[in-house]
Subunit: 342 residues, 2 copies
């Protein structure tokens, strides 16, 4: 009996208004692609799910081109090389590639990172040792510039970026206050990740709790959610506070500007009065190679010595990726979400 | 006949809600103060009027303590030394001091800058050679970091900060688009100050005109007004744009957050997608002495060579300062406003 191997692709069927729904993404079967000369065939093992993917579904001016209608959804994967006619790669190598939501892909090796054969935790290249980990590292250290004794606040604290931001801030001698959704996540953030405190943003008195846990104000707010968390942070910012901005996930599903009041004056007035630096960054083009090298070295050390802990949530099956992405966008996931494919 | 010399003070009578009105500031006659040992008597010649003064009337957390009820309104002045028991100062010297809205003041010389006897343009120390000029210089060069060929946008372009920002940007090889209120100001900004364009923010199609005049997008937006100008700028910002924030004058008279929609997602989303750096600064504590020295040297050169032009609006009489401040806040003034006192 021959095992039938399917090659599936998940593609953008239509641009969503608000949260993606059952019409947003389609799944189709295709032939396994055939690599040409100086190409290799990749089989996806793990697909990363990340909040930025929602932005790629929009047809708006941004740092990256939107995914076209009918095109395979964009995404980073850890894949196994099946056949290779590319130097530096051979069958059995695991690689980090940007080949998207599909079982198989052909690549000429451009922008593909070789992880070697049987790497210890292959999926970590999508998380703490990859984009989210590097986002946390570079955003916090290069824009946030934490000083020992300062207070750092980060939301989505049980997610791969927030969890890493907090643990690095702790290594740098800061006080770190996390924000997460629900008791379980908050307990994990404090007990397992070592944050000084974690506040449930679903609490009615969330803003009051944040104030109580930041008696010396906030020196760094690592912005990844926007919305009511940002608005609760603003009045607590200290002079010369820094705000690296890597995401505003609570706003990704907006279909237009929300009703008022207009917080524009509060945002800009705080930036002015408190001399705040707010800086957006995109991990792929905001920092140099030296920063990336330092990240890989430091993070590998910290993971090895147990100073940084990492939690993954594995979703089984490419077909379950769309629903899992919505969980990421709604804050229903817990830890870094990767889809185990094939 | 002995000429009677009055000593008047303008003080904060009550905190305004919105625009200051006739109850906000009071005027009173007092005895001419008598300096003690190691003190000097200053007679105010020019009082500077600046938008930041509105903020000092509020009892809110900010970079500087608010003016107390009954206290003399804060402000920079150029004064003449009448008698002095302070080293480095003697009768007849002109000085730059922070002695506020009053005819006479006593000082021990702390934070007082000696301008010498009969300086050429004494009031310029309140403008292009003082706080507004330095705000423009340091904000543009140190936070904005203009590169030749970039597009710079600044509002209040006929005011002392905006006019200086634009002329320095021009010296640095940038394209400079100003925004001002009314045809007269716009003509002055283009014809006299040498901006590439100036848009009347009172035009109905203001946002459309801004877009047309910035075909290559905006690399630096020097923020001094907030409000609709900021919101028209946001969609035009280029990747890695910089936004030094020295004021949000259009919002200074707000009594609470304005009605919606909420532009928070537009502000933060643009910062994220375009990797914008937004940085608030207060000229007195955001930059080092080297920057100040460079400013004094460069600005003196530029004024001498005619590369920078400067326009003042002189208001006669301390008693007219309150109404003149409202004109500054409402954009009815034209050029740097100084009050000629005594």
């Amino acid at each position: 009996m021959i095992q039938e191997i399917t090659a599936r692709q998940i593609y953008l069927a239509e641009r969503p208004k608000g949260l993606p729904d059952e019409n947003t993404l389609g799944i189709r079967s295709v032939d396994i692609p055939v690599p040409g000369e100086a190409e290799m065939l990749l089989r996806t093992r793990y697909l990363s799910l990340d909040p930025y993917m929602r932005g790629r579904m929009n047809d708006t001016k941004s740092y990256a081109a939107p995914v076209g209608i009918g095109e395979v959804m964009t995404g980073q994967v850890v894949a196994e090389v099946i056949t290779s006619d590319v130097d530096r790669f051979e069958a059995g190598d695991f690689v980090l590639a940007g080949s998207g939501w599909q079982d198989f892909a052909v690549s000429d090796g451009t922008d593909v990172l070789n992880l070697g054969k049987e790497p210890e935790n292959p999926s970590w290249a999508l998380g703490v040792l990859g984009m989210p980990g590097y986002t946390a590292y570079a955003g916090l250290l290069k824009i946030g510039e934490p000083q020992a004794g300062e207070t750092v606040v980060v939301a989505a604290a049980s997610g791969p970026v927030g969890a890493t931001v907090g643990q690095i801030a702790k290594i740098k001698g800061c006080k770190i206050v996390g924000i997460a959704g629900g008791e379980d996540k908050c307990r994990h953030v404090v007990d397992h990740l070592g944050f000084d405190a974690c506040i449930d943003h679903k609490s009615e008195d969330f803003a009051e709790q944040l104030k109580q846990h930041c008696p010396d104000g906030i020196d760094i707010y690592f912005e990844n959610v926007g919305g009511k968390v940002l608005y609760a942070v603003l009045p607590l910012l200290n002079p010369f506070a820094r705000m690296p901005v890597c995401g505003v996930v609570s706003w990704y599903n907006l279909t237009g500007l929300p009703d008022g009041p207009d917080f524009g004056p509060a945002i800009m007035g705080t930036i002015l009065r408190m001399k705040v630096k707010v800086q957006g960054f995109i991990i792929y083009d905001s920092f140099g190679k030296d920063t990336y090298k330092a990240f890989t070295r430091d993070m590998t050390d910290w993971l090895g010595s147990g100073k940084i802990r990492y939690k993954e949530q594995i979703v089984e099956g490419l077909e379950n990726a769309p629903a899992a992405l919505n969980d990421v966008l709604l804050g229903n996931s817990f830890g870094k979400v990767v889809v185990k494919v094939g």
